[in-house]
Amino acid sequence: MTADLLLTLPVLAPAIGVALCALAWSHPLLQRLISLAASLGLLCASVALLLAVRDGTVIATQFGGWAPPFGISFVGDMFSAAMVLITGLMAVAVGIYGLVGDVEARENAFYHVLYQGLLLGVTGAFLTGDIFNLYVWFEIMLISSFGLLSLGGTREQLDAGIKYVTLNLIATTFFLMSVAFLYGMTGTLNMADLARVIPTLENQGLVTALALMFLATFGAKAAVFPLFYWLPAAYHTASAPIVAIFAALLTKVGVYAIIRTFTLLFDGDAGYTGPIVTAVAIFTMVTGVLGAAAHFDIRRILSFHIVSQIGYMLFGIAVATPLAIGGSILYVIHHIIVKANLFLIAGVVNRAGGSFDLKQTGGLYRTMPMLGVLFLIPALSLAGLPPLSGFWSKFTVIKASLEAGHIVLATAGLAVGILTLYSMIKIWNEAFWKAAPDQSGQTMRRWQADRRARIIMLSPVVVLAAITLTIGLFAEPFVDYSLRAGEQLLDKSAYIDAVFGAPAQVTEARP
């Protein structure tokens, strides 16, 4: 397949899904089929993309026949291909899971259209090579997530929606403003061209200021300290499949944007930005994990853990060695699978145990021992216990930070791991281990009678847990891929050459 097709198909599949689902809005069954087919299409296209770039080649395509850097470029390298693949995987797993529960109510409110819209924005953001285009994909992702979050329109959701929408709108507007300043300084928006122009600028102090603006705006998207408040205020009000896909993808797009811009564009003044990112990473890990310790709603605990885990993904930029960036990539991949799975299991706990509130559930290990095992795999992986995927990703980032002499960062990472374990054990004790409350027998019987719901909800959980185990037990290819992707990110010339076709002269900064 040509590069054009490889890079556009992962975006085309959800785009077609959006259009067809909107056309079939009065036929819920048809929408389900289209949505699943589009998600499967995305998964297949992303596998093809990964196979094309896994040997280290970078592929690029230009839209509309414009010569670079004037048109919009799409670029696929090892990092973006891995992110697209994991998006495809999540699209299918959560898409299947989303077919139960209150699906009819959600379908009346364009659930499938918005779901595919979210995937469209996310894959577009991973593949684009143009910073203004990245803004547009962010907005597509945002407007879909606004719709998904307020789907149902309960009082709780409207309240959460206000905070989520306001803070995210401010963040994206700030992003656009940063893009405007960047354009004013460099005269270009193409990221490969920016990578060539930025080192030639005279006023490097201004570049550092701009880098911090981008750090703030992407940091707000990634929910880092002190910009994370929209996340724990909102996530727990959405229904289980929606919050699972949010938890898997939304903040990770912010992390992707931070890693991409700080390896490709703003790597000039790492001595200044490095300590800032280090402090942000430490505070993010610690506040997130302490916030989780205070809560007894399983969704709110998990929401705070998203924040906490984002801190580990910043190790790559904080430490800025090839090993650390590779470790960050591995961490993102591992975390998406594990976190989505935990939210899916939270949905099962709610359905079988009757509540998301840990104080009102219990005894699930007695009635469903297999679910207990399925919970322990992602939960212990999140805490970083061997031999699960979390161990290898934590091991890599902490090894990298120790090698570079970041003792405080490494210590914080290890301590937060222990506190994470505390939270996971709390969920285990309350939902699985303690005796069931008196009134829970009825919900359990209803769950056990509903064979279809059990199969649909548990099969994605089993598959994701199997992937976590696979990464843990056969870590070698995954670690190797991530480390090579990290090295590729640090070698900017491959990215630039892929967009411009051949090694080109550095152009003068345009007005």
Partner: protein
């Protein structure tokens, strides 16, 4: 001209920041609108304001000579459409929240994150909400 526009941009951002910090959601929407427009102005400024000639390539020519920079215009057009739709959505969301929650005061909106220890008595909360009602 550019310093004047830059100053206008600064004033708009300041106004937006002031409005966004308000507890009244109506003012927050206005703040988002002003911030969006300030951003559009910054894109316009970033493209330099040298020429007033429309960016049209004359017949027989292959390159643009002496015209205004067309790229910021395209960017602003995109940004206007996006910010228009987002603000429209936000307004509808805020209005339905106002109807369902009975308040426009963000401090009184504690449905998603209820206070654990001290419960604000309901009538006091509503009194606070009434005070925040925009004038008819």
């Amino acid at each position: 001209m550019e310093p004047v526009f830059a100053l206008a941009f600064g004033v708009m951002v300041a106004v937006a920041a002031y409005l966004l910090m308000s507890r009244n959601v109506l003012r927050v929407v206005l703040g988002l609108l002003v911030l969006g427009n300030a951003t559009n102005l910054s894109i316009f400024l970033a493209g330099r304001m040298g020429s007033r000639t429309p960016p049209l390539v004359a017949a027989g020519e292959t390159a643009l000579v002496g015209g205004a920079n067309p790229l910021p215009q395209a960017l602003i057009l995109t940004a206007i459409v996006i910010s228009f739709s987002l603000v429209a959505f936000t307004t509808v969301l805020f209005e339905s929240a106002h109807r369902r929650l009975g308040t426009v005061d963000t401090d009184a909106m504690r449905e998603a994150e209820p206070e654990a220890a001290k419960k604000v008595p309901n009538d006091r909360r509503q009194a606070a909400a009434r005070k925040m009602e925009p004038a008819e």
